[in-house]
Each structure stands twice: as structure tokens, then as C-alpha cells.
């Protein structure tokens, strides 16, 4: 079922001496996440958690005059690479699903970019969707999905192409407690099958308890927000 599309060995994600000037503070981070490790990043609103995720994903850059640091995946320096070349699986807070495309097209988007045949894409999508009970919705429009279904589609879209790391920005914040619990277990199961370094941004203490194998906390100092490993 889970034949690897990309059989490269999974590598450690290293954020090395990063300092990024944000509007009224400097975000500082120096930590690493090993393959299979699940880091949960917690901190107050506006403390730079999303900025860190965007930096690792390549959606923001360390291009400011006083910005510094490197982001590594194994021995590969990702700092200058654009987002489309980093191969990070990102689950956005608002999911970022493509409403013009259906479930199948959303889920197989990255595989299409990589040039996989239609048959291969559909087979992969079906097997992944089956795991979360969405195989019957394969041709549904995105706006016809419930909140939990949309969340699962976004989760699978981020993982199906076997990314090098997995970044989740408060993925469960808009869901009710029961659904959060279900999705947490599904996330853990899916991550077990593709154990790349994972960083999850959250406010929820239950995420810490149930998901984290490493805790990252934003500590506020004068003019700085420092990511601390606990």
C-alpha cells in the first residue's frame, strides 16, 4: 500500500542560528528535529510561531538586512531554496485547499507536479483517502466537505508526496474537541507511516500531551522571541 514514491532516506531538520526581524521583535531559533520526532511549538499569539513555519517552508525568507542563520535538511542547505523546491508538507491553519479543484485533484496536486501518471496518482489518492474514510468523496467539490473532511483532505494532500518534513500551523484550532481527538490519532497514524521531522504549532495543551515527543516554546526576552527546546 505505502510503496514509497520517493525512497530517499528521511533526514534531520536543523534550524541553525536563525534570526528574523519581524515588525517589533527579532525571532531567534536554534534547534533540530530528528526523523520521526514530533515537535510541538507553543507560544502566545503574535509571538512568531507562524513566521517560523513560513521560514522553514520557504514562504518567507531570511533576506532582511539583519536576518541570519541557515535551515538544513540533513546535509542539504535549504535556506536559499524557493518553497516549490523544498518539498515540505505544510498544513495551513486555513487549509489552503484549492476550491476550483475537486478532492482527487487537490490530493494529487503535488504528484501531478512531479509528473506521475494519472493511474498512479488516482491509485495513490484512493489508498490514502481510504485510510481516513474519504474514498467515496474522491470526486466531491471542496465546498461540499465538512470541516473535518476538509481537514483530512488537506492532511493527505500534504503527506501523499512523501515530503522531507511535515509542518502544521494550528491545524485543529477550528474544530470541536471530539473531532480534534479523532484527527490527532489519524495524524499520528499517518506520521508513523512516513516518519519525517514534524513541527506542529498549537495552543492546545492536549496536542502537547498526545502528539509531542519534543516541546518547543517561544520565550519572550527584551526585543527577542526565542524558540527554546524543553
Amino acid at each position: 500500500m505505502f510503496d514509497c514514491i520517493d525512497d530517499k532516506p528521511v533526514s534531520e531538520l536543523k534550524v541553525q542560528g536563525v534570526q528574523k526581524e519581524v515588525s517589533d521583535f527579532v525571532l531567534a531559533a536554534d534547534f533540530s528535529v530528528k526523523p520521526g520526532q514530533r515537535s510541538v511549538l507553543i507560544g502566545r499569539s503574535g509571538s512568531g510561531k507562524t513566521t517560523l513555519i513560513r521560514l522553514i517552508a520557504g514562504l518567507d525568507s531570511l533576506s532582511g538586512a539583519r536576518d541570519q542563520g541557515r535551515i538544513w535538511l540533513g546535509t542539504k542547505d535549504m535556506t536559499e531554496l524557493p518553497a516549490q523546491k523544498r518539498k515540505m508538507g505544510v498544513l495551513f491553519q486555513d487549509l489552503g485547499l484549492f476550491p476550483a479543484l475537486n478532492v482527487l485533484e487537490n490530493v494529487t496536486f503535488a504528484l501531478k507536479m512531479q509528473g506521475f501518471s494519472r493511474e498512479k496518482r488516482e491509485a495513490e489518492a484512493f489508498s490514502w483517502l481510504q485510510k481516513v474514510g474519504l474514498e467515496k468523496k474522491i470526486h466531491s467539490r471542496i465546498d461540499r466537505l465538512s470541516g473535518g473532511e476538509a481537514q483530512r483532505v488537506a492532511l493527505i494532500r500534504a503527506l501523499i508526496w512523501k515530503p522531507r518534513a511535515f509542518l502544521l500551523d494550528e491545524p485543529f484550532s477550528a474544530l470541536d474537541r471530539d473531532l480534534r481527538n479523532v484527527l490527532r490519532s489519524e495524524l499520528l497514524e499517518l506520521h508513523r507511516l512516513w516518519p519525517v521531522p514534524m513541527i506542529l504549532v498549537s495552543h492546545d495543551p492536549e496536542d502537547l500531551q498526545q502528539i509531542a515527543t519534543q516541546q518547543l516554546r517561544v520565550v519572550e526576552e527584551s526585543g527577542f522571541r526565542r524558540i527554546q527546546v524543553e
Binding site: V90, D94, A100
Partner: protein, 543 residues
């Protein structure tokens, strides 16, 4: 959402290239021609011509007809717009769509419709109402009112429709009657749209060319625009006189343009405070309507709107085609003009859509420098405030040394297309710019994290959203270009006669029956374009 990050979506190379294209277009198309007009003042030995009694009298006539037309259109358009925009039943939606029809009809067809209505042996005379207003100032004002009133009504209706029902209900619970609610709740909401529409109408009436030339009869009623034309292409050639009229014309048209920009700026800052979604509330309004109102009000609304479109459809009455042979000879006369018109319209529309697209890209790119972007966004809309003939004269003064646009060769074709591109550019830009403001930035980011390059993400995710507006902009500009008279008349040549010029020429030679057939074909073409635009807009999915 992540709107702040949209600037990073435009690659630097593309951003700079687009900015260069827009800069070049604006400098060559607007700045240099206008500069040439002012530069010409240097050759005036005395400035008396600018303030001669003849010039001032023309300025007065131009101002008076435009002011009266705007006043009447504004007053009646306000009432009609409030009425139609006050509910959301199917009839009011259709009525609103019909209000857009006059803008798809070429001005020469409008003029012919009014000649058939007001002429000595026209429709009204045959009905026993011998007004005989054709070729008079009254006819010009009446035609302007019928043409522009639907525009005012349309903008007012759209603005009124966007007003949520809650403030009205709150006012009612506080004891406000219908008039009080209109004065203190509805009017403050729609006032910017209303004043903006009136000011635009004033500007359009100042710039009106074909209607004044045909319905005013040429010399009996002259405005700055028609006088400018006659100084260049009709009777005695008088370049200095033309430049003087052009400068006055520029003065009269740019003032309303500045006022409209100011009003739009005010209304945008005003609308930022509106955080209630009107779409949801309209459903509530529908529930309020009763069955009894349904039939009476719907019918009355449709009749009111159709009343303002009816004169143009007189063209279909008494269409005379004597024989198949005469029809064939008519078609053979029309065919070359049709070919020229489609060549001009197709190339103009293509050029305009391309320049508008580059402008959108440039402005998104320039969001990095907000003040710079604000200045550019004002300048790109400047052609809305300049009449075609003024710009044409300026272009001729600026480039006539190298290219003679009156030669009827390829130079004239390029001159007409270039002029129309500058004039119609704001239309396409206004269609495309709002689409760019709803760019799905998060989807682009998500696509990037999934290994998709920007151009591919645009094609796969965003192009379906752009397709409708781009086709719409193309169709609007093509329709406007097909019916455009001023540029085509200014640079016309026996080898370069477009359909509107042919039509006005037949009217000038009293070939009214033939003109009527051509106008009918024109009208059908225009209506088909309007229907296409309405359909393509309704298909656009916004997400």
C-alpha cells in the same frame, strides 16, 4: 488572509518588465500627446484666442448642455435607481441588467434612433406630436438624458442593493418613517455612488461627439468637441483654433475626472467601515416581499427601464429592403467597412487587455512601495478624463512629423488603434483590477509548498477565475471599439472607413433607409455583446 504576502508572488523580472511596458504606454500614449498640446501654446503670438467671445460662447454651450443633461439624468436616475435597488426580486435584477444596455449601443446608432424619433417625419410626428426637435440643443440634451440616466440608475441601484436591511429595520424600530429612512439611512449610503455617477455623466456629455454632430446638426449646435473636429476635418483647417478648443475641453473634462477620483477615494474609505455582507441580507429582503407586490411592481419596473431603451429599437421599425439585389449591393458596400471595423476592434481589444494585464501585474509588484503605487494607479486612469479628439490632436502634433495619420495607410490604422487603446484602456483595467484584489494568495503558497512553480499555479488554480473577466474585458473593449466614432472620424480615409463612419456618412447623405439597415445590424451585434458579457460575468466564480 495572507494578503500582505501577495507582493512576493510577482517575480522581480516580470514586475519590472510590466512596469516598463506600462510606463512606455503611458508616456507615449498620454504624456507626450498632452505635452504637445501645451507646447503648441508657445507658437501663439497672443493668448486672446483662448478667451475670445466665440471660444467662451462655445465653452458656455458645452458646459450648459452637459450640466443640464447631468442634472436631469441625476435627478431621475436617482429615483429609478432607488426603486430598482430597493428590492431583489427577479424583475429588479433583470431591470438592472437592462440598464446596462445603452452602454453597449454605439453612439451613431443612438443618434439615428433619435433622428427617427424626433425628425420632422419621425415617429413622434407620425403619432401627432410634432415636436420637430431634431438638430437642436433640446434633442442633444434629451438624447444625453436617455443615454446617461440608466447609468446613474444602475450605480444607485447597485449601491442601494448593497445596503443591509438591519440599519433600515433599526431605524424603523426607532420611529423613522419611509422618508426619514431615505434621508438618514439610505442616502448617506448611496451618496458617493450617486455623485460619482452624476460627475461622470457631466464629463461624458462634455466629451460627447457623434450625438452632438448628428443630432445637433453640426453648425446649428456646436460644442467644444464638435467645433474641434470641424477645425480639423470639416471645412477650413485651423490648427490654432483646434488647439484652443482642445485645451478648454481638457479643462472641462479633467475637473470632473478629478472629482470622480476624489469621490471614489472617499467612498472606498467609507466602505471600509462596512463589514456586513449584503448578499445574506438580501435573502431576508426577498422574504419580506409579498405576492401582490410581485406582479405590479415587477411590471412597473420593467416598463420604466424599457422606456429608456425603447428609442433605439425604433431602428427596427419600417426597415425597408426593396429587393434582394438592393440588399446584396448594400452588403457589398458594408463588407469593406465591416472588415476594417473588425480589424481595428480585434487589435484594439487584444492590445488593451494585454496592457491592462501588464498594469495589474505592475501595480501588484509596486505594492512594495505604496505611495508610488497610488500615484501610478491614478495616472493609469487619466485617459478616462480626456476626450478622444483632444488626445488625437495631441498625438498628431507630437508624432505627425514622422507618421501622417491622415494618409489612410497603415499609419492611420495604427493611429486609430493606438488612440482607441489609450481611451479604452481604463475600461479593461477596471474589469481586471478587482479580480487581482481577490488573488488566492494562500492557494499560491500551498501550491508552492507542493512543488508547483508560480506560472503553473496561476494556470491551474487562478486562471479559471480570470477567464471570465478577461473575456468580458475583451468583449467590452471590442464592442466599444466597433462603435467608436471620434478616433475613426478623425483619422478616416477613403481606404479606412469603419462601420460607424460609414453609417454617419449615409445619414449625412440622407440615405436613412440604408443607414437604418446598417444600424439594425449594429444594434443586434451590440445586444449580443451585452448578453455575452452578462453571461460570462454570471459564470465567474469568486472564491
Amino acid at each position: 488572509m495572507a494578503r500582505d504576502h501577495s507582493v512576493h508572488l510577482i517575480p522581480r523580472g516580470l514586475g519590472w518588465f510590466s512596469s516598463f511596458v506600462v510606463f512606455l504606454f503611458w508616456v507615449l500614449g498620454v504624456l507626450i500627446p498632452l505635452g504637445a498640446l501645451f507646447f503648441r501654446l508657445k507658437f501663439f503670438t497672443r493668448m486672446e484666442g483662448l478667451f475670445s467671445s466665440e471660444t467662451l460662447s462655445l465653452v458656455r454651450v458645452t458646459f450648459d448642455q452637459a450640466f443640464l443633461s447631468a442634472l436631469i439624468s441625476g435627478a431621475l436616475g436617482l429615483c429609478l435607481g432607488l426603486w430598482i435597488g430597493g428590492d431583489s426580486r427577479w424583475a429588479s435584477r433583470w431591470a438592472e441588467a437592462f440598464l446596462a444596455v445603452p452602454f453597449g449601443i454605439p453612439s451613431v446608432v443612438v443618434a439615428l434612433g433619435w433622428v427617427l424619433m424626433l425628425g420632422r417625419s419621425g415617429f413622434l410626428a407620425r403619432m401627432g406630436i410634432p415636436l420637430d426637435w431634431a438638430y437642436s440643443m433640446k434633442a442633444v440634451i434629451l438624447a444625453h438624458v436617455f443615454l446617461n440616466l440608466p447609468w446613474v440608475a444602475l450605480l444607485v441601484a447597485q449601491s442601494r442593493r448593497a445596503l443591509p436591511i438591519q440599519p433600515l429595520e433599526a431605524a424603523a424600530t426607532l420611529g423613522a418613517g419611509p422618508m426619514y429612512r431615505l434621508r438618514w439611512v439610505v442616502f448617506p449610503h448611496i451618496r458617493w455612488a450617486f455623485f460619482s455617477a452624476c460627475t461622470q455623466v457631466f464629463g461624458l456629455c462634455v466629451m460627447s461627439f457623434a450625438l452632438v454632430m448628428i443630432l445637433g446638426g453640426g453648425p446649428p449646435v456646436q460644442t467644444l468637441e464638435s467645433a474641434l473636429y470641424t477645425r480639423l476635418r470639416y471645412g477650413e483647417f485651423d490648427l490654432s483654433g483646434a488647439v484652443i478648443y482642445a485645451l478648454w475641453q481638457l479643462f472641462l473634462t479633467l475637473i470632473p475626472w478629478i472629482v470622480v477620483l476624489w469621490i471614489q477615494f472617499k467612498s472606498e474609505s467609507h466602505s471600509l467601515n462596512q463589514n456586513i455582507r449584503p448578499g445574506i441580507l438580501l435573502d431576508t429582503q426577498v422574504q419580506h416581499s409579498s405576492r401582490t407586490q410581485f406582479r405590479i411592481v415587477d411590471g412597473a419596473q420593467m416598463v420604466s427601464v424599457l422606456f429608456f431603451i425603447a428609442p433605439y429599437f425604433l431602428i427596427f421599425s419600417n426597415l425597408k429592403l426593396n429587393s434582394m439585389d438592393s440588399f446584396k449591393s448594400l452588403i457589398s458596400e458594408i463588407t469593406p467597412a465591416l472588415k476594417v471595423s473588425f480589424e481595428i476592434a480585434g487589435l484594439t481589444a487584444l492590445g488593451v487587455v494585454l496592457v491592462a494585464a501588464f498594469t495589474v501585474i505592475a501595480l501588484l509588484f509596486l505594492e512594495r512601495w505604496p505611495r508610488f503605487k497610488f500615484g501610478i494607479s491614478i495616472l493609469v486612469l487619466l485617459p478616462s478624463g480626456i476626450s478622444t479628439l483632444v488626445l488625437g490632436l495631441g498625438a498628431w502634433l507630437a508624432y505627425g512629423k514622422w507618421v501622417d495619420p491622415f494618409s489612410g495607410t497603415i499609419a492611420a490604422l495604427i493611429a486609430v488603434i493606438g488612440l482607441q487603446m489609450v481611451i479604452f484602456f481604463p475600461i479593461a483595467f477596471r474589469v481586471l483590477w478587482p479580480v487581482s484584489q481577490a488573488m488566492p494568495v494562500r492557494q499560491f503558497e500551498a501550491a508552492a509548498t507542493l512543488g508547483c512553480p508560480l506560472y503553473k499555479a496561476f494556470w491551474l488554480l487562478d486562471w479559471p477565475r480570470w477567464k471570465g473577466p478577461v473575456l468580458s474585458a475583451f468583449a467590452v473593449v471590442m464592442a466599444a471599439s466597433l462603435g467608436e466614432v471620434a478616433a475613426a472620424s478623425l483619422f478616416y480615409h477613403e481606404d479606412l472607413i469603419s462601420l460607424p463612419v460609414l453609417l454617419s456618412r449615409w445619414m449625412a447623405r440622407y440615405r436613412f433607409e440604408d443607414a437604418q439597415v446598417l444600424a439594425a445590424l449594429f444594434l443586434i451585434l451590440s445586444l449580443l455583446t451585452v448578453i455575452f458579457i452578462l453571461r460570462s460575468r454570471s459564470r465567474v466564480r469568486l472564491y
